[in-house]
């Protein structure tokens, strides 16, 4: 692949804190390598801003290898930018051309308030997990991993659901700010396995109740979440969660 450098105009959301009014700021970056990641380009920009005595741009990041779910930028109108099944940290500058203008915004949702600039508070997801995204395990010696036979398809489906990194791109993308894809992945990965059976009913009821309490919107099946999910989580999980909810809801006292 051809290597090249580019000069870019960046329009980035700057917001001092959750209570202040934010606005876009325009920055120029020069000689960006096509082999840099999008976050490395931001590192270059921030070093430049620090040298100039200006406030660097706050953004979330951790592993930078596409598995932690921390990076969360809405780039040119798409969560994690233009590449499919990809996180912002794995987006490379070869996705852009010399002279491009790139608009970068934080996730927008009532349940994800902006902390600063591009950093949003995603602890709503943690509270949903705390409401039921777990299994009970006895203390003592570790149980043999293969003691319980599990159907290959169920194991595969559970694994596919467990690939969710909780980045929040589904919420950011959904026109309703709905967290259904995230919650359904977390419900599915446990509902499909025998280990998840004891809390199967209470899990889905409690997690959905917490999701609603956090102020996420309602799913209208546009499937934008699936299209933008960096891990390719399927909306089949949402259908499964609906079934689980129906089952548990009808059975509950």
């Amino acid at each position: 692949m051809e290597h090249y450098t580019m000069n870019l105009t960046l329009k980035v959301w700057k917001q001092k804190n959750s209570s202040s009014q934010g606005a876009f700021e325009t920055y120029q970056v020069k000689d960006i390598s096509s082999e840099m990641s999008f976050l490395e380009m931001f590192d270059v920009l921030n070093e430049q801003l620090i040298r100039d005595g200006k406030d660097p741009i706050a953004f979330d990041h951790d592993c930078r290898e596409g598995i932690c779910g921390m990076c969360s930028m809405y780039i040119n109108g798409q969560a994690h930018g233009p590449w499919a099944k990809n996180t912002t940290c794995q987006l490379h500058m070869r996705a852009f051309k010399d002279g491009d203008t790139i608009v970068v915004e934080p996730w927008r949702a009532a349940a994800f308030p902006v902390i600063k600039d591009l950093v949003v508070d995603r602890t709503a997801f943690d509270r949903i997990i705390q409401a039921g995204g777990y299994i009970s395990v006895n203390t003592g010696n570790a149980v043999d991993a293969n003691a319980i036979p599990i159907d290959k398809k169920d194991a595969d489906d559970a694994f596919m659901a467990a690939a969710c990194i909780g980045c929040g791109a589904c919420v950011a993308t959904c026109k309703n700010g709905s967290a259904m894809l995230f919650v359904s992945a977390k419900v599915s990965q446990l509902a499909l396995l025998p280990q998840g059976e004891p809390e199967r009913d209470t899990r889905v009821l409690n997690m959905v109740a917490q999701m609603d309490k956090e102020g996420f919107g309602n799913c209208t099946n546009t499937y934008a979440c699936e299209a933008e999910c960096p891990k390719g989580i399927s909306v089949a999980n949402i259908a499964r969660m609906n079934r689980e909810y129906l089952r548990a809801g009808l059975k509950a006292d």
Binding site: N76, E105, M241, Y245
Partner: protein, 222 residues
């Protein structure tokens, strides 16, 4: 868990939309089939026979109450969802490439539904109300066919009806398969069949409905 908790949860609200939506789809099958009797072009004889049956049969008249209840539930729940969903994103995006990840009509169900509501006000205030007036004033047999023929001579009415049917088409194209997903039916083999059936249903029903005012206006039926 109370029934209220169940049906006011985000998934419970989806169930209400999906179930009432499918119920309204089943009504469209009946409505479209009976109205298509005008295409026999027999001066409305066949059509009026069925129209008379529909307005006089007691079972149908009980179901009619259920139909209005279902329609109202669909409308009210839909409007409430629109309000809640827009509150879930108080600050919008400056750049939003929504067209890259979803279909415009899937994102516009609220708007399409509102357009349909305007159409329904026009539609019901004419045919449904007139049929009821005729029924209770003893003005029988009521000639709905002649009423249609006369009404559809006006260009603005024909345009309004076709606009209503176009809104219905896009609303159904999303709504039909979406209702199944909501009720938990998502399957490698069945979902493509549901989607194909939904598309076929939307095309056939809306084409027949659009042909009705058009046929009267152009004099294909008289």
């Amino acid at each position: 868990m109370t029934w209220k908790q169940f049906f006011t949860s985000s998934i419970g609200k989806k169930f209400i939309m999906g179930l009432t939506g499918l119920f309204l789809i089943s009504f469209l099958v009946v409505h479209c089939t009976i109205n298509s009797m005008i295409f026999f072009n027999d001066g409305g004889e066949m059509f009026n026979t069925y129209a008379h049956f529909m307005s006089h049969n007691y079972i149908i008249r009980v179901i009619e109450v259920g139909l209005f209840a279902g329609l109202l539930a669909h409308i009210i729940q839909g409007l409430m969802l629109m309000k809640q969903n827009s509150a879930a994103r108080p600050v919008g995006y400056a750049a939003n490439a929504a067209g890259k990840n979803s279909k415009w009509y899937s994102r516009s169900m609220g708007l399409l539904g509102t357009l349909l509501l305007f159409f329904l006000v026009l539609h019901i205030s004419k045919f449904f109300v007139n049929t009821k007036i005729a029924l209770y004033s003893g003005d029988q047999p009521h000639n709905t066919f002649e009423e249609m023929k006369e009404y559809f001579q006006q260009l603005w009415v024909v345009v309004a009806y076709i606009a209503g049917v176009v809104s219905l088409f896009w609303h159904l194209l999303h709504g039909f398969p979406s209702a199944f997903q909501t009720l938990g039916i998502n399957h490698k083999r069945y979902t493509p069949i549901i989607q194909a059936a939904g598309t076929a249903f939307s095309v056939i029903v809306c084409l027949l409905f659009a042909l009705m005012p058009l046929s009267f206006y152009l004099g294909w039926i008289n």
